[in-house]
């Protein structure tokens, strides 16, 4: 299939290109100009950008199909313009065996939608005791190793895991949260939690764990990516670590970029998230850190939770929110609030995310994989259970009108979504 996209505003963050132009796709790759296309798509009024890369999206398979399925979540991904996604290992069973990873990749591939990059479990069953067979998992297709949201309390295991991963050059993706300080907590330990009578997780649960993690990076030389920063203190620590030259990267989730603990309102269980939503000051520091590059990229932290998991008192609610279809609108909203050029905002879900994930997509250069999104930056989407493709209908943004509507999603040169 040879595609010609015409009249689009082409925004390619990797090259800094932003302007009217033509885009040619042949053999699944971005191509030089050619004369005879099989299909011409008129993209007048639309932005053509590299397909989005979401480095944290839970597909809930294997084992948690009652919350979501590969099929439903892959639909959500392409409807959100996400052409590549990394999935955390907290499935049931966790992604700790090559066979499971292999099966997931095959099933995902058969759907011919977004590209799926599994993150393997760092420890067996995510129990934080024994190392997984990382080299074999990598052969099966794991691009990094992680504990997802499951704590790894034993710092000796953490040290050994980083040493081992470092030996083979495998990236390790971890959240920074001190197990004991976070124990029992469900909200940011501050005025809101005090008012609502919710057990708190102090900010220093994150900064203390991050300090230890950075020290272990210095000791082991492991390539560590820190997932879902939530505090101003962590942004500061990451800034200093990067200045020092440590090979660390980090991300922030879309919720923490826009919301804070005040949004819990009257116990809104859709705001029950891991890490917890923190103060306005933290949120502002995250937004600024993303802009100045301290935080490398944004992810949706997509976590479909069914109503049974949310229609319970706040503290008993299952953490997480749906996010794949909100990644673009909420990234645009962040960029708009900070008056950034479009290419700079989109970099956080394309080229920068590709760099963190270590993949060759996320750009529109000739020869790059033809993963392309056409979207209308002005058209708005109303977030509702009916409009969301994901099986997870729970998000703090229900009822919001957000700008940024995906019209066409192309993966490897194939049009997989059109609206």
């Amino acid at each position: 299939m040879r595609l010609h996209l015409k009249n689009a505003r082409i925004v390619d963050p990797a090259s800094g290109r932003d302007g009217k132009g033509e885009l040619y796709i042949a053999d699944g790759k971005i191509s030089e100009e050619f004369a005879k296309a099989d299909r011409i798509i008129d993209a007048k009024g639309l932005v053509a950008a590299p397909g989005f890369i979401d480095i944290a999206a839970r597909l809930r398979e294997p084992g948690l199909e009652y919350k979501a399925t590969l099929a439903s979540e892959m639909q959500a991904a392409i409807a959100g313009g996400v052409t590549s996604l990394a999935c955390p290992p907290d499935t049931d069973p966790p992604l700790d065996e090559p066979g499971l990873v292999d099966m997931l990749r095959r099933r995902a591939k058969a759907l011919e939608h977004a590209r799926v990059y599994p993150i393997g479990a760092l420890t067996v069953k995510l129990e934080g005791e024994r190392l997984t067979e990382m080299a074999q998992l990598a052969e099966a297709g794991c691009v990094a190793f992680s504990q997802a949201n499951v704590p790894l309390a034993d710092s000796q295991v953490l040290w050994r895991a980083l040493q081992y991963a470092s030996t083979f050059g495998f990236p390790v993706w971890l959240r920074a949260e001190d197990t004991w300080l976070a124990k029992g907590g469900v909200a940011h330990d501050g005025e809101v939690a005090t008012r609502l009578g919710l057990p708190g997780i102090p900010s220093f649960a994150e900064t203390i764990a991050l300090g230890s993690l950075l020290e272990l990076v210095r000791a082991t030389g492991a390539r560590v990516h820190v997932c879902r920063l939530s505090t101003a203190g962590a942004v500061q620590l990451m800034r200093a670590a990067k200045r020092e030259g440590l090979a660390v990267t980090c991300d922030v989730g879309i919720h923490h970029l826009h919301l804070c603990d005040n949004d819990l309102g009257y116990f809104d269980s859709n705001c029950r998230l891991e890490p917890p939503l923190r103060s306005q000051r933290d949120r502002d520091a995250l937004a600024a850190g993303l802009q100045d590059g301290t935080i490398d990229c944004v992810c949706s932290d997509h976590t479909p939770v069914d109503d049974d998991g949310k229609h319970v008192p706040f503290a008993e609610a299952e953490p997480g929110a749906t996010g794949l279809e909100l990644l673009l609108p909420l990234t645009l909203k962040w960029g708009e609030a900070r008056k950034l050029p479009l290419a700079k905002s989109l970099a956080k879900i394309t080229s920068d995310a590709a760099r963190v994930l270590g993949v060759g997509s996320g750009k529109l250069a000739v020869g790059a994989p033809a993963d392309v999104v056409l979207f209308d930056p002005a058209a708005s989407v109303r977030i509702s259970a009916e409009t969301l493709k994901s099986q997870g209908k729970n998000t703090p943004f229900l009822g919001y009108e957000l700008a940024g509507r995906v019209r066409t999603t192309i993966v490897a040169g194939n049009v997989v979504y059109e609206k």
Binding site: D189, G190, E191, A193, T194, R195, L196, G197, L198, P199, G200, P202, N262, D263, G265, Y266, F267, S269, D308, H311, V312, P313, F314, A315, E316
Partner: protein, 316 residues
């Protein structure tokens, strides 16, 4: 943020979920109504027909004797039919969800749900899902709120001190886990008490508690000085299991109310306690049974206050 879920479209009390966010007029309306019911409870025929034909479901997901009983008495004095459900030992253990339990009871034609639950916010969840004519009264949720207790505390204070505008009130002990303290603090600040103090060790005070409008004291003697009202909080034995406190004895030494410490407060100070008391831990018997104590009148006032709350929400 959403509209206050306790109020209906006319700004009247639809549910009583928390004292926080309620305007002064509604608090005063409840206290004044309770005043008018205080007479009823002293009559020989202790009944008024305000809730005749209405059903009040006491839904206690957490054990309680005093609160459940006073709600039951209050409902009966209003001529309502009362159904007590001790859910801690029935459907929850069978795996039924909170909302399913409520939906089933709703199908049995409930008018008022009185709810106690160990999770903060549970009555808010229920209030969001009940039918428009049904009312939810929070009888204590987790650490969050215990509004009828807060109101009966306010009623007691007003009864003995007449007005709030010159009062210094000290709340002593385990504020961290106390829904009683949170409700009373909101009530006092709304009704204009100029100084509300909390007294306790750092481990028993929640983060940023000053934001509720209170002054923090760690030294009980300093905190009690010139107080008009001293509210002692219950200290549960399980607090000694974590790393919050070394022992009940040490707590008693520093934060237990003794006659000697009480002497630092004003000579006409009143002493309150939501019960059940741990004598010799947070309060000495000489104080609990002494002339400053209004702990038993609190219980009596609790009935009138709960009658007031039920009759007001049912009328809106």
């Amino acid at each position: 943020m959403q509209r206050n879920p306790q109020l209906n479209d006319s700004g009247e009390l639809q549910h009583l979920l928390s004292i926080e966010g309620l305007p002064r007029e509604i608090l005063t309306q409840i206290l004044d109504t309770a005043e008018s019911f205080a007479g009823v409870t002293e009559r020989e025929v202790k009944k008024v027909p305000l809730l005749r034909g209405k059903s009040v479901f006491n839904l206690f997901f957490e054990p309680s004797t005093r609160t459940r009983t006073t709600f039951e008495i209050a409902a009966k004095r209003l001529s309502a039919d009362v159904i007590n459900l001790n859910i801690a030992v029935s459907s929850q253990t069978k795996g039924e969800s909170l909302l399913d339990t409520v939906a089933n009871l709703s199908a049995m034609q409930a008018d008022i749900f009185v709810v106690r639950h160990s999770s903060s916010g549970a009555p808010f969840l229920i209030a969001r899902h009940v039918k428009p004519h049904e009312h939810v009264i929070n009888a204590g949720d987790g650490r969050h709120a215990h509004p009828t207790q807060g109101l009966l505390d306010l009623f007691t204070i007003r009864h003995y001190k007449k007005e709030f505008s010159r009062l210094t009130v000290a709340i002593v002990g385990d504020v961290l886990h106390s829904r009683v303290a949170r409700s009373l603090i909101h009530g006092l600040t709304t009704l204009g008490a100029p100084e509300v103090r909390v007294i306790g060790p750092q481990t028993l005070l929640p983060a940023g508690v000053e934001a509720l409008g209170v002054k923090v004291f760690h030294d009980m003697r300093e905190g009690l000085r010139d107080c008009d009202v001293v509210v002692m909080l219950r200290l549960q034995n399980e607090r000694m299991k974590g790393a919050l406190l070394p022992s009940a004895q040490e707590f008693n030494k520093h934060y237990g109310l003794t006659a000697e410490k009480l002497a630092l407060a004003r000579t006409d100070a009143i002493v309150m306690h939501p019960g059940p008391m741990n004598r010799g831990v947070e309060i000495d018997s000489s104080v609990a049974d002494g002339p400053h104590s209004v702990i038993l009148p609190q219980v009596t006032f609790g009935i009138a206050v709960r009658m007031a709350v039920m009759s007001i929400v049912a009328g809106n």
